[in-house]
């Protein structure tokens, strides 16, 4: 008979090994999925995971890794703070959109003036926009006890409509011949989130992501607030006895994740995307949830997981072009990864035992 025995302490080995095992299992199951779609599974997996890094055109794809990974890491770092404390912000997509709108809005307001202060101001505005959007579920939760999961998610749909309204109305390019979408910020030097070193994909968003990783690491391991976050997640009752004020924690966690998501949106709209358009958002806010879990809610883990997820995006694009693999297949692949990860997590806290339970 197979049964589960709770471990006295979470296993460190399994805690580190589960993400790796989950990735390998997903590759195998993904290969099967691709095979049922009539593609050669080995070739498909190699195209997704090998070609962007070491293939013939890797010099083109490697910079993309930073471009796609930066927003994922930036958002996931913020989300992980809340997830650790049992505060579920799943509306990062909405905060990302609003951050992009406020950031781009400030930039467009200054057009065509040039000045060194415009870009920092845009970063600030983006963070502020995302923060404000996240404050809605935060304040509603602390004031009225409203479920933050549902409110933050509803606000994603509101933000999407807002984005549509902006790109068709207020922010529409007056010289755009009536096409929807704002002016292209890439052609406006003071507002352009350009590559810091040409050809590397290294833009200010990547720098911000790295800083966020370091800050989150210090916060969680060396700071009282980080300790409170971890304590609330692991033992909410003990946390209250220790004097942790849940309301402050909710405001901080949601606010921080909102600000980071807003910044990510702003870096994207002023750099790789270039303009505010109806389909500007591509679901980074939702993929970041997978990144946060895959990285075990640990800053360094998130950095690695963000890289891996960026790889599946890029590899997925290549596979779409070369093998005709539908783009939705990559979405399924990413979803599967989260499934296996959650399922295998069992091994961290439980031991699988064989035979009859012994009488104590």
């Amino acid at each position: 008979m197979i049964r589960l025995e709770k471990r006295p302490q979470a296993s460190r080995v399994w805690s580190l090994a589960t993400p790796l095992v989950a990735v390998v299992t997903t590759m195998i199951m993904g290969g099967l999925l691709f095979a049922t779609l009539g593609k050669d599974p080995v070739e498909a997996i190699l195209t997704i995971f090998w070609d962007p890094l070491f293939g013939e055109f890797a010099f083109y794809y490697r910079p993309q890794l930073l471009v796609k990974g930066a927003p994922l890491v930036l958002i996931a770092i913020g989300l992980s703070l809340g997830f650790r404390a049992g505060i579920w912000n799943i509306g990062a997509e909405g905060q990302y959109i609003i951050g992009a709108l406020t950031g781009a809005g400030v930039g467009l307001a200054f057009y065509p003036m040039e000045g060194w202060f415009i870009f920092p101001l845009m970063v600030f505005a983006g963070a502020l926009g995302g923060w404000a959007w996240a404050m809605i579920p935060a304040v509603l939760k602390t004031r009225f006890g409203t479920n933050e999961i549902l409110v933050s998610l509803m606000l994603v749909y509101v933000a999407e409509q807002f984005l549509a309204s902006m790109s068709l109305g207020l922010m529409k390019n007056p010289e755009g011949f009536g096409f929807p979408g704002s002016r292209n910020l890439q052609q406006y030097a003071s507002a352009h989130n350009a590559e810091i070193v040409t050809g590397t994909g290294m833009h200010w968003g990547v720098v911000a992501a790295l800083i966020a990783v370091i800050f989150a690491y210090v916060l969680l391991n060396r700071h009282m607030l980080g300790y409170h976050i971890r304590l609330t997640g692991e033992a909410p009752r003990a946390a209250r006895f220790a004097g942790v004020r849940p309301a402050r924690l909710i405001l901080f966690c949601l606010g921080a994740s909102g600000a980071l998501a807003g910044m990510a949106g702003m870096f994207e709209v002023s750099g790789p995307a270039g303009q505010v358009s109806i389909d500007f958002n591509v679901g980074y806010g939702f993929t970041a949830i997978i990144v946060a879990f895959l990285g075990r809610l640990h800053p360094v883990g998130i950095l690695l997981a963000g890289g891996l997820m960026a790889l599946t995006y890029i590899g997925g694009d290549i596979a779409q072009g070369n093998l005709g693999l539908p783009s939705a297949a990559i979405q399924v692949f990413q979803g599967m990864l989260l499934f296996f990860l959650l399922a295998l997590d069992l091994l961290t806290n439980y031991r699988i035992a064989f035979g009859k339970p012994e009488v104590a």
């Binding site: 589960l4 709770k6 579920w88 799943i90 809605i136 509603l140 009225f144 006890g145 409203t146 479920n147 999961i149 549902l150 409110v151 998610l153 509803m154 606000l155 994603v156 749909y157 509101v158 409509q161 807002f162 549509a164 309204s165 068709l168 109305g169 939702f286 949830i289 997978i290 879990f293 539908p326 783009s327 939705a328 297949a329 990559i330 979405q331 399924v332 692949f333 990413q334 979803g335 599967m336 989260l338 499934f339 959650l342 399922a343 295998l344 997590d345 069992l346 806290n349 439980y350 339970p357």
Partner: protein
């Protein structure tokens, strides 16, 4: 702007149609939550049901076969959730999110061949005399079968939860799983069955959107209905008839909003389209003060140590 173009009889009739997917999904989730499980994957199960039902209906030519397939697809997907949360004891919030993300991808993949295809039409029931009554006939007696099924299901869930032994056991598991386990009830089995029921209901709700409400297939067409259904369960304080009331209220908001768009009100389309989501938030705020009716074990994992 021409508000006189809005026909109140048609408005109420279409309100009932708009409310049915919400009602089906919410009733399913209500049973799941009554058993103490929070399944946030409603949106994923709905969209999977939407495409599975659509594909089955197109291939077989029968909308009813579509609904059966949708229920099956929703149940199969929810089985994944059951395996994660009941056997692997994974976090329910994270597992529900995983289900939604996975379902959205899966449905997009399955639906590629069906974009732009027209599904077979579901006939309206036609009761002689009753269906021909002015006003009342159009509102009450001239809909498709599934709409009545949704209302019947609400009544059935109410009866089972309130008056039967099975309902009592389900509620006991949701209120205090340790006590229910000590009394000898199979907590995991009961919860798994509830999750399967919820999945089947959500799948049918999704198919109602793709087969009757719209009717066609587009990627991500459920557009948050599954999440609104989750909010609806809170709104209903876990009571079936209040879920029906809530579904009609939200259906009403959606339909009025669409009618105002068509009538060309001075409010921009985007702001009208936001309204169902904003009203959901508003309702959540008003009702979240009272949490006393929530099942006590909601969202907590159960593992029998002996």
């Amino acid at each position: 702007m021409d508000l006189s173009a809005i026909n109140p009889v048609l408005l109420i009739a279409s309100l009932m149609v708009a409310a049915t997917p919400l009602l089906l999904a919410a009733i399913g989730e209500l049973v799941v939550e009554k058993s103490g499980v929070l399944n946030l994957g409603v949106e994923g199960m709905m969209i999977t049901g939407a495409i599975a039902g659509f594909a089955a209906a197109v291939e077989s030519g029968s909308p009813l076969a579509g609904f059966v397939a949708a229920a099956l697809a929703g149940a199969v997907l929810s089985l994944l959730f059951a395996a994660l949360t009941q056997i692997a004891l994974a976090n329910q919030v994270a597992s529900g999110l995983a289900l939604t993300l996975f379902g959205l991808g899966l449905s997009a993949l399955m639906g590629q061949r069906y974009v732009g295809v027209k599904p077979p039409q579901m006939g309206r029931i036609d009761i002689p005399v009753l269906s021909d009554l002015p006003v009342v006939g159009r509102i009450l007696f001239a809909h498709d079968v599934i709409l009545y099924f949704g209302i019947a299901l609400t009544a059935a869930v109410w009866v089972v939860l309130k008056f039967t032994r099975a309902g009592l056991v389900l509620r006991a598991v949701g209120e205090n799983h340790e006590a229910a386990h000590a009394l000898g009830y199979k907590v995991v089995r009961i919860r798994t069955l509830a999750i399967l029921f919820g999945g089947a209901c959500a799948g049918m709700g999704g198919a109602y959107i793709s087969l009757i409400r719209v009717p066609q297939w587009t990627e991500g067409m459920t557009a948050g209905v599954g999440w609104i259904a989750l909010a609806l369960v809170v709104f209903a304080s876990w009571k079936p008839w209040r879920a029906l009331l809530g579904a009609y209220l939200f259906g009403g908001v959606t339909v009025v909003q669409l009618n105002l768009q068509a009538a060309g009100v001075a409010i921009p389309v985007e702001y009208l389209a936001m309204s169902p989501y904003l009203i959901t938030i508003l309702v959540l705020v008003i009702l979240s003060a009272d949490k006393s009716s929530a099942p006590a074990s909601l969202g907590r994992s159960f593992h029998a140590s002996r």
